[in-house]
Symmetry: none
DNA sequence: GTGGTCTAGACCACC
DNA sequence: GTGGTCTAGACCACG
């Protein structure tokens, strides 16, 4: 389920964080679900346990997961979205970089909207029916 | 004109590249314009000339600028957009990360479209009226 | 294995790039092989690590190598040749310069073909027999 | 007749040298012909006279031209090809770089011979009938 | 004046 | 351990 590109410039632990957050949005992983243990995950993905550990810590820091001592790591059931100024700028930056690069690839506004639309569908399409 | 965030995890030279590409899109810098010399820019931004040099070389590698020996670095007059598969994935990734983070901030689809729209206006709004 | 001519007008980092690409063609270095670390290579060649770094980054930019974070730099296993117009012109230029200079040395057509043949053998002769 | 690319990494004076040597091979300029004066050439090509001067000096150093004080610069009538070891290595290097890059573009041996053949025709085709 | 290369030495994030 | 970034300062070729 989790695809890692070892040659990417994005750190592996960050790729894991992204993939898990994406999996939750898509409904593949649900609130309350237990994540595999650090060791288990490390073995599955043939990665250094320290890398998984760092990913889990980051997820917890973002309140996406909670860790219960002795039980494991679970997807938060009561995740409360929080807009802080910093996060908002970060999102803007992602979009801005995307748009700038898109323009330099010859994209038109419509192409950009098209891509956004397709990504929105991919990420939340599952729950579209509620 | 160029804002650098020294605390950002994005390397300084990359921030410079982004800012210049953005400035060109916005029409603040125009094709044919000369960029400040490496030393001049370094002094202006109180950065090491090597850092500017790296940014300029990356811009040239991307064909955003051309350098003329002994004269300086200029914004390309004949930039030809090219879509390669890799670049396309990169853009998709930027947007995907933006959308995922936006959802985790509590954004709705409309909020995302709103932000994209505002960014598109900011980046290309100047030329929209001709 | 890598021979550097410090007196050459060709930059050292570029000589390194060329030598490594040549080594791969000759089969001396194989896809998947790890290159010496930047520091190791720098020590071996008594060069500054930054110089090696620049060579390695250029190799990666050309997709000749990939780097895996924390592990090192490796020869690409899946190198996909791509002809772009610009590269084609570059190759033509190399050959043209070679031919012009050859004529000025008194070479005949046969001599030129002879030299090309000998170089082709040298560069790919190893795999010729499979 | 002389095409200069100001954005090329090849120095302008060197491009001039190459173009003139090529023109002589092609028979466009003939032994005994007078080259335009430095100032004249500089005005024609809108280049700095120093650049032309440097090109002419290099041509003379290579014995491709001779300068007669007060009369001007002329294409040598009695050019004697000289193979020195150094020149030979230089030619080999040009060809080697061309071949290496050609292989990395996906060229086969035949493609390389094809390109060489086409260049030979282009450069000496005119005199093929003697 | 311009950009390009190189050295020396430092600090950092990642695995 | 690995590569990546940055500073400081030097030297060079080119126009």
């Amino acid at each position: 389920m989790i695809n890692i590109d070892a040659t990417s410039s994005t750190p592996i632990y960050e790729q894991i964080v992204n993939e898990i957050k994406e999996g939750i949005l898509k409904g593949i992983i649900e609130p309350g679900d237990k994540l595999p243990s650090v060791r288990e995950m490390a073995k599955m993905m043939t990665l250094n346990p320290n890398t998984i550990q760092k990913a889990y810590q980051e997820l917890e820091r973002q309140k996406v997961t909670v860790t219960i001592r002795g039980r494991g790591t679970f997807v938060s059931e009561d995740y409360k979205p929080r807009k802080d100024e910093e996060k908002l700028m970060e999102v803007r930056e992602f979009f801005k970089k995307g748009i700038v690069e898109a323009y330099y690839m010859g994209f038109k506004e419509e192409d950009i909207y098209e891509m956004i639309k397709s990504l929105l569908k991919e990420l939340k399409g599952v729950e579209e029916d509620d």
